[in-house]
Symmetry: C2
Subunit: 291 residues, 2 copies
């Protein structure tokens, strides 16, 4: 291979930039704040270009985005409430200024791709990756590729069954109220209980309620996608004991029903914080090979 | 092509047998009652073998089944409450007696395959097919293949949000209580309101309640799989006006959120009652070509 791989994990509050000789060999990284598109993208181009001879760039972006290369708006950010960013042609901007092949997908799909190839999905045919943080987003990898059809997945926005009817919490999602993201994203937990899950005492009801909803998410992922492994990442999952509670609740509500359930598991990310940038570099590598 | 395609839509109450010169050209069909495995399979072999020179057989079976050819139990019915059928090696039985290549999948995946290739999915890259009848089952087709990982999908068994909290109905699913199948399958509707949806007056609350749950199903299918078209079939969907109500409720709860929503639609099966047998013949054709 001649030249370096460049990756961008484009988030709503920060852009993580990375350089690697392969997706698994990150040699430099740099974080910049997300401001208006011009300032942010310009700063990203300058840092990346200063790192040496770049062969290809991969971008995992906050969404919603157009991820289908066959569509005219490919590489753009679609309707986002984030000021100035709706309609931003993020892939086109970099392609024009850096004159390299650009791979593009959602941030969560990039992370899913990384976990599938190099993390918790090694040796598995299918994987779901979900991040539970400021928002809730997920992606499913099957036979080497992300599942997508008309647009990308938005599993954070399905409506789970309400299991906490006493003192009903209306949810914080501006589009759906009490969809999953409205109920158990980081901001939902803060709004409801005035603290993050990690800050609440171990015997606080919040732990079981959040675990119950995430168990429903895993149940729904199994019902609609049947992946071999479900990876739960993001800030909320750092709360001690939460993964174990999710597994137990998941077992309970599943009722011993799903075919192949002995081959399914719920795990933490193997790449930790690196999934996003490793995924972006993987997208760069694919773009370099014309995939 | 030399020889005929044979297909079996293996259901819990009846087996539909079919013969075709291609998946779309069904030349003969025959229905037999589902009794114990030996009697039923034997009768099926006798009828199919009497129809001429069979080149390959396709089976779409009630489940749960092992659909992965790489697994030792491929072609078997797994844990079913149906007496005598758990562990029945249905594909093996036919392969041994008819000495032809056998294609095998769930009944709903066979129907999904048929709608995808020859029905509502023509020209689409992805499709979900759901049957709402005695049970609720669905399958998602992407890039020419059914989505599956560790076992097949079981979307009828996800838990929707309860929208009818007054006079709470506990649901009829023996595994999950008020999962979707427990709430709006044919038997659930009968149990709750003492009649089928078609038999209830047009202004009965049941119509809006059922439509609301099926709209949640469509919303969840979009969130977890994002297919271009969702096909809703099965006995319950024959209730006049239901599809329209589902579409309207789906629009409402979606909140204008999903990327690519202008390319998504909810439709009736284009093949009607034929989807199952056309799908079985398609599985036969694939088996003949060694897929």
């Amino acid at each position: 291979m001649s030249g370096l791989l460049a990756g961008i994990e484009a988030g709503g509050t920060k852009f993580v930039l990375g350089i690697g000789t392969s997706p698994e060999a990150v040699t430099a990284r740099h974080v910049i704040a997300t401001r208006n598109p011009e300032t942010t993208l310009d700063e990203a181009v300058r840092w990346l270009s200063s790192q040496g001879d770049i062969a290809a760039l991969g971008i995992g972006s906050f969404g919603p985005v157009e991820r289908d290369p066959a569509r005219p708006r490919w590489g753009q950010i679609l309707d986002t409430p984030k000021p100035g960013w709706a309609g931003c042609d993020i892939a086109g901007w970099f392609a024009e200024r850096m004159e390299v092949p650009v791979g593009f997908d959602t941030d969560v799909t990039a992370a899913a791709l990384a976990e599938y190839r190099y993390g918790a999905g090694r040796g598995k045919a299918s994987l779901a990756y979900v991040t539970i943080g400021t928002g809730i987003g997920g992606s499913i990898m099957v036979d080497g590729r992300p599942l997508a059809g008309a647009g990308h997945l938005e599993m954070g926005h399905y409506y789970p069954q309400r299991t906490d009817s006493g003192g009903r919490f209306e949810g914080v999602c501006p589009y759906h109220g009490d969809c999953l993201e409205g109920l158990v994203s980081g901001p939902a937990i803060e709004r409801r209980w005035g603290a993050s899950l990690s800050e609440l005492p171990a015997d606080h009801e919040a732990h079981a309620i959040v675990a119950g909803y995430l168990a429903q998410l895993c149940h729904a992922i199994s019902a609609f996608g049947a992946p071999e492994v479900i990876v739960l990442g993001g800030g909320v999952m750092k709360s001690p004991g939460l993964l174990k509670q999710v597994r137990e609740a998941s077992e309970r509500i599943e009722g011993g029903y799903f075919p192949g359930r002995e081959r399914r598991s719920i795990v933490s990310p193997a790449l930790g914080e690196d999934a996003g940038i490793v995924g972006a570099l993987t997208l760069a590598e694919e773009a370099m090979h014309g995939k």
